[in-house]
């Protein structure tokens, strides 16, 4: 059924269609309407689940971890300060190999207080062992939640996944979304039945102490799980496309990159704007393309390596900044292509922090700059875009 809904409702419908059994969540702007909608689904009986109104985000994740270890499919949602408060238990969820699925409504970190979009919260969790999917539309949010359970619950993967919605731009903007029939989702996503769970009569310790001569093997296996996730993402999306008739681009969603002189790399909602800019610039005869990072973890290294040989310049747009280094996506892209024979010029553009608009005009200027830089090399590898007091004018 086609409905008009916000990204947050798309998350709630996604969790409902995936038949989440335990939901533990704590409200935070701009995630709140996900929690409210799910509480409503549970209270009306539309969703047969237990809703735990926890007293904080750390407890939300800790409760999901316990419930998932006891064999229940769990879901939670958070944002920004809430996600970073969870940091310890995010590591716990992946270390315990629990395929928990969570929406993070990506929002800037305080101080100064700011409730609008950037990706600092999400990027700061890149080492926690979670799969991370950035979404471009509300449809993609709903679909990716359903796919994430199927990807992560595979015995070879067994890792948690984070679905990222941009604050307000997706979370509070309504779009038409196709909400699939429950029976169709059920045929795609079977009930969760882990090989091992907490069970009376089968005394086992989950999360025991291990010695240095055992610990690395656990980490190695989690690494293999993330490697397997890469293949799983592609395979599950094929299956999804077969049943539901749509797909969202695997790990790296390429738009008009085949003959592009210059490619922009971006993640999240800004990629939708960038597609329009690509079209407009191509009409003017400039061969530009867009590579949208859909999976930030596992990172699409192979896809970037094959892209490197086909283009002269890569403009990496980061909506966060790692102090003392550069944008995280920029450093990842560069490390991906270092081993390639032909390496395009790569430049980092830091833009849109704390909800600052990244307009079509700004994107066009980035492309124009990159077309020049790709020929003569970048003087400054990292440029902050549209910041007061800096010489270049972007608007």
């Amino acid at each position: 059924m086609r409905m008009v809904m916000t990204g947050n409702y798309a998350s709630a419908y996604g969790a409902k269609l995936a038949r989440a059994e335990v939901i533990a969540a704590y409200p935070i702007t701009p995630q709140t309407s996900i929690v409210e909608k799910l509480a409503e689904f549970v209270s009306s009986g539309e969703l047969k689940a237990k809703f735990i109104p926890v007293e904080g985000e750390h407890s939300a994740m800790a409760a999901c971890i316990a419930a998932q270890t006891a064999g229940a499919r769990t879901y939670t949602a958070t944002s920004s300060q809430g996600l970073t408060l969870m940091h310890e238990v995010l590591m716990w969820a992946s270390g315990a190999r629990l395929p928990i699925v969570m929406t993070n409504v990506s929002r800037a970190m305080a101080p100064p207080w700011n409730v609008w979009v950037d990706h600092m919260d999400t990027v700061a969790q890149r080492d926690t062992g979670w799969l991370q999917f950035f979404c471009r539309s509300n449809q993609e949010v709903l679909d990716t939640i359903i796919m994430a359970y199927k990807i992560c619950e595979t015995s070879g993967v067994m890792l948690p996944a984070m679905i990222v919605e941009d604050a307000f731009i997706l979370s509070h903007t309504s779009e038409p979304v196709d909400v699939p029939e429950q029976a169709l989702v059920d045929s795609f996503l079977p009930a969760y039945s882990p090989e091992l769970k907490l069970e009376v009569g089968k005394p086992m310790g989950f999360g025991s102490l291990v010695k240095p001569d055992q610990y690395m093997e656990f980490r190695y296996k989690a690494m293999l799980g993330m490697k397997e996730a890469r293949e799983r993402i592609l395979r599950v999306e094929q299956e999804f496309k077969h049943i539901f008739g749509r797909a969202h681009g695997g790990l790296l969603d390429l738009y008009k990159c085949a003959d592009a002189d210059v490619v922009m790399v971006a993640a999240g909602s800004v990629a939708a704007t960038a597609m329009d800019v690509v079209d407009a610039m191509r009409e003017k005869g400039m061969r530009v393309g867009l590579a949208r990072i859909r999976a930030f973890r596992p990172f699409p290294h192979e896809e970037f390596r094959s892209l490197a040989g086909k283009t002269e310049g890569i403009a990496v747009l980061d909506r966060s900044f790692t102090f003392g280094a550069a944008g995280a996506m920029f450093t990842e892209v560069k490390s991906s292509i270092y081993s390639c024979q032909k390496r395009p010029v790569v430049k980092n553009y830091i833009a849109g922090l704390g909800g600052r608009d990244i307009t079509p005009k700004i994107l066009e200027k980035i492309f124009e700059d990159m077309l020049v830089v790709s020929k003569r090399g970048a003087e400054d590898e990292v440029e902050w875009v549209d910041v007061a007091g800096l010489p270049r004018r972007w608007r």
Partner: protein, 297 residues
Amino acid sequence: MMTKTTIPVEEFTFPGSTGCPGCGANLVMRYMLKALGERTIVTIPACCWAVMPGYWPSNCLKVPLLYCAFEATGAAISGLRAALDVKGVEDVTVVGFAGDGGTVDIGLQALSGAAERRTDAIYVMYDNEAYMNTGIQRSGSTPWGAWTTTTPVGTSHGFKHESKKDIMAIMQAHKIPYAATVSPAFPEDFVKKIEKAKRTKGFKFIHALSPCPPGWRTNPSLSVEVARLAVDARVFPLYEIDEGKVHITRKGKGLPIVDYLKVQGRFQHLTEPEIDSMQKIVDDNWIMLLLKESSGT
């Protein structure tokens, strides 16, 4: 003639716990599981008992065990209960088993949340009155006057000058259906209270005194004796709060506090006036408890 005890014979802990000789927490776990039986799931945060079951893949408990993050016990029991509920499993007791630091300090938020949500579970705090797993640092549950490595004697500040948090009062303020103090020196009283907690629906809290020979600087062979002295000197009265009503289950002999203090190295530095002031605190607390009992609150 031997009197028949009411303590279940079956054991739910294998030998092989890595606890120190004379560890009170070993006895607390043992009596608790005897009272609860096989249909129990336990979750344990960072504390001595996170280490005591042994290294993977060994485990000395005969019930399923979930290790959880230090501050997360209250959340973990809520998650476990929700999963069992959604799966239609009703006859399993969920237990959070945490130390005093993981309860009155870093875990207090999650504990309060679980109590407020009326999570159907038993929360057991084994109280060795300091961060013992990390090597005897003060906690909010360390009593006034005690030496710890972070309240070193012989410095300008000296021993701990702040009193112990009254966790039972904190739990009573949450209007939970059942809370009780237990001691490994009185196992029959201990088992009876755990059995009552198991029968009661909702959130239950158990405060267990847990003597710690390395931390209290006591002889490992005297752990049960020290626990008994705590009750007899009324430092740790045995009582329950049943639907808000206080009931003292053992009045103790009313021994002077010095009898309890003198067997523990952690109190050896105290002067006579300091011991007198400790006695006054104990006497005042005891009178308050008697008043609570007689007034039905």
